[in-house]
Symmetry: C2
Subunit: 469 residues, 2 copies
C-alpha cells in the first residue's frame, strides 16, 4: 500500500511511481526501458505527473550514463525547479546535456539563492559562459552573490523582498503589495526599514491580514527580530533559524542595511545536512554522498585510513614492548585486543555525545565542568559493570583469579580513560577552532588502543606471568 497522498489529478496515469514516499524500483526500471526505446513522448507522459522533487530523485536513481540522455529526452519537463532539487553530483551529469544558453534560461527562472547554488558548482569556464548568457540584471545579482564566501548567508539569501516604512498604514501596505508584487513570488513576512534602509521590525503576513487597515505599520510590527549578517556561516544561520523558530529572516550588510532575505525552506536542507554530517565526519567518510565519484570518495577516505594506519602502528608498538611477557603467556595476545576494543567503544559513545552537544551548542563554557564530571560518573558505572563481566568470564575460562583481576582492572582503567578522552578531545579541538567531528575519533581511538594495550600488558607484567596461570 502506498503512503503517498499527493493530490494530483494526473497521478492516476502512473500509480506506482511512489512507494512509501520514494520512487519505486518498477517505475525507475520502466523509465529506463522507455528511455532506451527512444519513445520520448511516452517517457514524458510517464514523468509528467511527478513533482519536481521526484523528477530530481529519478535522475539520482537511474544509471549514471542514462542521466544526460534522460535530460535530453525530458525537454521542458526538466525545468528550473527540478534542476534546483538535484543532488550536487547528479546535477553535474545533467547539466552536461545542456548548452550554456539552456543553463542560463533555467537560472533566469530561479530565485537568486537557487541560481547561485546551480552556478557555483560549475567549472570556471562554464560559469563564465552561463553568466555571459544571462540578462544584465540577473547577472549582476548572481555575481554579487558569488562575491560572498561559499556557505555564507550572502549565498543563501534571496534579493527579492518586500520592504516598507513604519509610517505606512496596513491598508497602504496591502495596496502596494497588490500593485507591485508578482503573484508568483512567495513571501511570508514583510520587512520594515528606516530611511537608511536598516531593518527596524518585521510583520508576518497573517498580522497584515488580521490587523485593522488604518493602523500604522509601526504600531503592529514586531520590533524584536533576528538579523543575519551577510557573512554569517550557513551552519550558524541554520542554528539561528532553529533556535528562534524563524520562517524568514532579514540579511544585513556590514552597515546594517537590509540586503536580502533567507527563508526556512532554504535552511532546512542545511540543518539536515549539517546534523547528518557528524556521523560521516566522525568516520572520516568525507562528504559521504553515494553519488560522489568513486575517485573522490577514495581520496577523502584514504587519507583518513592512512592516518589511522599510522596511529594503529604507534599503539601496536606498545604490544611489541611486551613481547617477552607475551612469549611466556601467549594467551595474553588473544586477550589484549578485547581491552582495547571495549575502551574504543566506550570512547566512541562519549565522543558522539560530546560532538553532538558541541554542534547544537548544548555544551558550552558554562556547563563544561559539569559535563566532564557527568561523563566520568557514567564511565565509572560502565567500567565497573564491564570489568566485572570480563573479569569473571576470563577468570573462569582460564581458571585464574589473578588473570581475571588483571583484565578487569585494565578494562575499568581503559573505560575511564575513554570517558575522559571522549569528552576532552572534542572540547580541546573546539578550543583550537578545529571541527571536533573531523579529528576527534583518531585521537580518541589512539588513546584507548594505547592505554588498553599498556594497561593490560603492563599490569600483567607487573603481577608476573607466573602468577597469572
Amino acid at each position: 500500500m502506498s503512503d503517498d497522498l499527493r493530490l494530483d489529478p494526473r497521478a492516476d496515469e502512473a500509480p506506482d511511481a511512489l512507494q512509501e514516499g520514494r520512487l519505486s524500483r518498477a517505475f525507475v526500471a520502466e523509465v529506463a526501458a522507455v528511455l532506451d526505446s527512444g519513445d520520448d513522448d511516452a517517457l514524458r507522459a510517464l514523468v509528467s505527473p511527478l513533482h519536481p522533487a521526484d523528477v530530481a530523485d529519478l535522475f539520482g536513481a537511474i544509471p549514471v550514463d542514462a542521466r544526460a540522455p534522460l535530460a535530453d529526452a525530458l525537454g521542458e519537463l526538466l525545468n528550473a525547479e527540478v534542476i534546483a532539487e538535484l543532488d550536487d553530483y547528479v546535477r553535474e551529469d545533467v547539466l552536461e546535456a545542456l548548452s550554456p544558453g539552456e543553463v542560463a534560461e533555467v537560472v533566469t527562472q530561479l530565485d537568486t539563492d537557487d541560481a547561485v547554488a546551480v552556478i557555483e558548482d560549475l567549472e570556471a569556464d562554464e560559469q563564465r559562459a552561463v553568466l555571459r548568457a544571462l540578462a544584465p540584471e540577473d547577472r549582476a545579482d548572481i555575481e554579487a552573490a558569488l562575491n560572498y564566501p561559499e556557505e555564507s548567508a550572502g549565498r543563501l539569501m534571496q534579493r527579492d523582498l518586500v520592504a516598507v516604512t513604519e509610517n505606512m498604514s496596513v491598508g497602504a501596505v496591502i495596496e502596494r503589495i497588490r500593485a507591485s508584487i508578482d503573484p508568483a513570488t512567495d513571501f511570508w513576512e514583510i520587512f520594515v526599514v528606516d530611511i537608511a534602509g536598516r531593518p527596524v521590525g518585521t510583520m508576518r503576513l497573517s498580522w497584515l491580514l488580521t490587523a485593522p487597515p488604518d493602523l500604522m505599520v509601526g504600531d503592529v510590527m514586531k520590533r524584536e527580530q533576528t538579523l543575519i549578517p551577510v557573512a554569517m556561516d550557513q551552519e550558524e544561520v541554520a542554528l539561528q533559524f532553529q533556535k528562534y523558530a524563524l520562517i524568514s529572516a532579514a540579511v544585513v550588510d556590514a552597515w546594517g542595511k537590509l540586503v536580502g532575505v533567507i527563508t526556512v525552506d532554504d535552511v532546512v536542507h542545511i540543518i539536515q545536512a549539517e546534523a547528518g554530517e557528524d556521523a560521516l565526519k566522525l568516520s572520516g567518510a568525507g562528504d559521504g554522498d553515494i553519488n560522489e565519484p568513486v575517485v573522490e570518495s577514495y581520496k577523502a577516505r584514504v587519507r583518513w585510513l592512512a592516518a589511522n594506519l599510522g596511529t594503529a602502528m604507534i599503539s601496536s608498538s606498545v604490544i611489541a614492548l611486551f613481547e617477552p611477557t607475551i612469549e611466556k603467556l601467549v594467551t595474553l595476545a588473544a586477550l589484549t585486543p578485547i581491552v582495547a576494543s571495549i575502551g574504543g567503544n566506550a570512547g566512541t559513545q562519549t565522543m558522539a555525545v560530546a560532538v553532538r552537544a558541541i554542534a547544537t551548542k548544548q555544551l558550552t563554557d558554562s556547563n563544561t565542568r559539569r559535563t566532564i564530571w557527568r561523563e566520568v560518573r557514567v564511565a565509572m558505572l560502565n567500567g565497573l559493570t564491564i570489568a566485572a563481566l570480563l573479569g569473571l568470564g576470563v577468570g573462569i575460562l582460564f581458571n585464574s583469579v589473578n588473570l581475571g583481576g588483571v583484565i578487569a582492572a585494565a578494562a575499568l582503567f581503559n573505560i575511564m580513560v575513554a570517558g575522559l578522552a571522549g569528552v576532552l578531545v572534542p572540547l580541546a579541538l573546539t578550543r583550537l577552532r578545529t571541527d571536533p567531528a573531523v579529528a576527534s575519533s583518531i585521537f580518541v581511538t589512539m588513546t584507548t588502543d594505547t592505554m588498553g594495550f599498556l594497561g593490560f600488558l603492563g599490569l600483567a607484567a607487573l603481577v608476573g606471568v607466573a602468577n597469572l596461570q
Copy 2:
C-alpha cells in the same frame, strides 16, 4: 565581539548575555550568583531582555539543583514559550517547581502541538492532575492528540487552522480572516476543503494578498498538495517537508478529512534531531543528551558495551586458535590488531555513508546494486593503497618481504570485506525492518575484527612462520 544582532531595545542592560549566539559563561555565573543572593527583582531584570529560547538555554546551563529555584524566582518570565523550548530532561526539573494548576495555565497558552509535547513527558499521575486542571475544550484537544501514537503526525499538528471552500472569493476570504481570526495566531497558508471537509487545495497568504479580490478561491488555489496522514511517523513527516520544501501541510484522518496543520517550525527540530541521531545510534550512545540523568545514560550505553564485549571475545577466540603460530613468532601478536583496526575503520566509513543514504532515502531498491558496486570499487582503491603502505612498512621494519606480503594481502582482504559488510549489513537490517543506525556497527566491527585476525594469522600460518622471519 558579539555576532548577535537581535534588535531588542532592552538588550543594552545585559550586553554580555550572548556571545557568538550562545549564553556567555559570565552571564550564566552572574545569574547563579544573583539567584543565590535571593534578590529576585535583580534576577528578573537580568533575565527579562532574553528571548524565550535563550531563557530555556539558561535553564540548561545552570547547575541541575538551581533549576527549580530559578523557575520559582522567575515567576511570570517563565512563560509558556520558555517551557516549550526547554530540553526534555531540563523541563522535568523545571516543572517540579510548578503545581499542576500552574502547569495547566502554561499549557493553556500553548498551541496544541507544544502543549502535547509538555504533557506527554509527565508522569501518569501528574498528567492526570494537569489535564483535570485544564478548561474542558483544551483538555479535549490535548486528550485527542494524546490518543495518537507517540512521534506521529497527530501529536505534532495544531488544530487551529483556517479552512475555506472553493466557491468563496479571495476578498471574502480576507474579510472572514479579519473578522474571525485572533491576530495573535500565526498561519502561513489557508486550506481549501470540500463539503465533506476533505482538502482539495491550498493558498499561500502571499497569493491571497496579490490575487484580485473578486477571483474565486478555486481559480487561484494550488490543487497539488502534500497531505500528511495523521498516523505518519514524525521522521517521515520531516522528510516530506524537506523533500517538497513545505512551510505548512494539511493533516488528514483515515477518512481523508482535514484535522490539523503541521508547520515547518515544528518539524525543523525533528529534522535536526533525526539527522543528528545517526552518529549517536551508530556508537550505541542512546539518546545522547548531555542533560540525561547519569543512570539513564549508563543503562543505554552499558547494554551496547556488553554486546560489544561479547563480540570482542568471539573475535579474539580466533587469535586463540593461532596461539601455536604466535608462540613461534610473537611479533605477530603486535601486528594482528593493525589489520583488524584498519578494517574496522574502512567498515565504519562505508557504514556511515550507507546509513545516511538509507535515512535520507537516497539509497533505495533502484540503486542498491550500483551502490554496492561503487563501494567495492572504493574499497579496492583504499585497500590497494593501505596494503601497499602497510606491506612496505612492515617489510622494511622487520626486514622480511614475506611478512610484508602477508600483512599487505590480509589488509587488502579485510578492507574489501569491510566495504562489503559496511553496505550489506545496513541494507540487510533495513530489509528486516530494523533501524540500521542502531545495530549495524556491532555486526560490521565483529566481521572486520574476525576477518582481520583470521586473514592475517591464517595466511601467516599457511606461509609458515619460518618463511616470515
